[in-house]
């Protein structure tokens, strides 16, 4: 193995570990912020780490079949493959992003969730099944505007390569895609609300309706894997959005800052809104965001 690919591998591993830690960190910051809005102290910053260590140290390991055991692991694989296809900066920090383009990323992103759906199906809990159905419906909803926004981007840049799209945004805030192409930016931001599963779009795991939704039957170590995966997934999604719409980042710290700022937006929306009913979720995404997305696409093409 050449030193170059060696370095790239090391950086990749560092990014994967870093994304776990950073994912947990913004999660706990979010919990603190939520707590302040709600007039209280909130958990300490290390709480997610404690939770995960505790879950890994659980003694019993109840499983209902091979697929349930495999599901979380497949999900982890899916997320790691997504993670390494996204550029996090320049040089080695582009990881393996030159090996795949936007379409690949989108495709691989859904892989983990489908694996999860299979696992939940085997666990046999009705609330889990309903939760998965809701999750997939929501995905179906927000993917349309998201894909419209991404197609517009591809059309504007004449390339589906994330690195090219980042390079085209050089030169100040005004050049960021979110501001240069406001319709596309708005569509993406609205679709992002659905991606982050805060209220109003957290139907899949609404406690008052379907207990904990898909994860109802998953405890202990499964849950720990899922929490880790989620932390990585949040970072991956946000990094992708930052790359595509907010000018990417020249170094990892600016990227971290941008990710955090972007994360605040669904968080604050979620704090002041109850959740939509299931049908409304779907209708919401297929109405205004889609319309704006089409306008953006029209402007992009003509």
């Amino acid at each position: 193995m050449s030193t170059d690919s060696m370095y790239r591998l090391l950086v990749t591993i560092a990014v994967i570990l870093g994304s776990i830690i950073y994912g947990f960190f913004i999660n706990s910051l979010a919990r603190r912020i939520t707590a302040r809005v709600q007039n209280r102290m909130g958990p300490p910053l290390k709480q997610p780490f404690i939770d995960v260590i505790k879950l890994y140290s659980k003694r019993t390991f109840v499983t209902h079949g091979i697929m349930q055991t495999l599901g979380p692991i497949l999900m982890l694989t899916g997320i790691i493959s997504t993670l390494i296809l996204i550029p996090y900066g320049k040089g080695y920090l582009t990881l393996y992003s030159s090996n795949g383009d936007l379409i690949t990323i989108l495709y691989i992103m859904t892989f983990g969730q489908l694996a999860m759906a299979l696992a939940v199906g085997q666990a046999g809990n009705p609330y889990g099944t309903i939760g998965v159905a809701r999750g997939l419906t929501r995905m179906f909803g927000y993917e349309l505007p998201l894909i419209l926004a991404l197609i517009s981007l591809i059309a504007l840049n004449h390339s589906a390569d994330v690195n090219v799209i980042i390079a085209n945004q050089h030169g100040g805030i005004a050049n960021w895609n979110a501001f240069r192409h406001p319709f596309v930016g708005i569509t993406a931001l609205l679709a992002m609300l659905g991606m982050m599963s805060y209220q109003p779009f957290d139907n899949a795991s609404a406690p008052a309706e379907v207990a904990s939704g898909p994860i109802t039957e998953f405890g202990g170590k499964f849950m720990a894997i899922m929490m880790t995966t989620n932390a990585m997934f949040v970072v991956a999604k946000l990094a992708l959005l930052v790359d595509l719409f907010f000018g990417g980042a020249s170094n990892i710290f600016i990227l971290a800052l941008k990710i955090f700022l972007l994360y605040l937006y669904p968080l604050f929306v979620g704090l002041v809104f109850p959740r939509f009913a299931m049908e409304d979720t779907f209708l919401f995404f297929w109405k205004w965001p889609t319309l704006i997305g089409f306008i953006g696409l029209a402007i992009a093409i003509f």
């Binding site: 007039n39 209220q199 008052a208 002041v272 109850p274 939509f276």
Partner: protein, 365 residues
Amino acid sequence: MKTTKLYLGPQHPGITGNMMIELDVEGNKILKSKTHVGYLHRGFEKLMERRTYIQSFPIVCRICVPEPDVNENNYARAVEKLSGLEVPERAKWIRTMVLEMARLQSYLLWMGGQSGSMGLYTMPQWTIGDRDYLLDRFEELTGGRVYHLYVWPGGVRKDLPIGFKTRMLDLMDYLESRMKDYTKLMFENAIFKKRAIGTGVIPKDKALEWGVVGPVLRGTGIKHDVRIDEPYEIYDKLEFEVPTYEGGDIYSRALVRKFEFMQSISIIRQIMDKIPEGPIYNRIPNPFKWKIPKGYTYVKLESSRGEFGYFMASDGSEKLRRVNVRGPAYVHGISLLEKILPGSRLGDVSTILNSLGVCPPEMER
């Protein structure tokens, strides 16, 4: 489409306590619902037959946990009616104040539950935190946070503490100012409205026939309130009105409750303003030898969830012969729920349950 059987509860975060709803769902639609009870049955009515009149007091307040004072008040008034005991004027005013405070705290709890069931988690954190200030006043007055054992046959146990009036009025100002925030966050919230309007509708022409009471009944547009229709304590000396909203859905119920919340604040202000001086209780005979003449009676009052009645019969001994508690939750939680749930969405079960004010411990006693 396949019909699935879902058991909502007893261990389920969306249920307002320890009960179970068995649902037949098809997709997202409910076809049939059935309430299962019995998880909280303690046999109150039997236990009370074994205790003297005064010994029953600690038990009655446990009948409805979110709102214990209505039970104490009802029970005390029933005992007074049976034994012909007089209540001093000042005690009546204090009792009314306690009832209104109970209403306020119960509505704060309801606001938290209603919005929490829709996923608006900021709201319960605010309202239940604010409810604690009311519990502080309760503690100052009675010594207990949730269960007070404050109302007594023949009066109340203790007089108002020194400075209670100012602290109470300050609290009322605080709650009134908080209501602005609540209105913005909950009652005027676009998504709250979207989910609440047109959900869980009770038709106006069926409401009386189905035995609906309280804010739920007023939400269908029928004016009915025990405080006005058959005034007890000193409600005839106070100024207030009964709000009604047409629609019969969750939103109109919410508006009724919001209106009554503000009204309770104004009632407490009136009481603080006009409360007369005087003794607060009439002595009762030795409670262990207190024989109450033979007879029976029915007393009722308007709790925050609706008409709450006690039927009591005595046989001339130290102990009660028979008591029957008629609470609103029994009707709302069992027969009404089974009528209005079919046809609604699975996600709305918990919301409807909260808006009806179903309180399982009171259903089963």
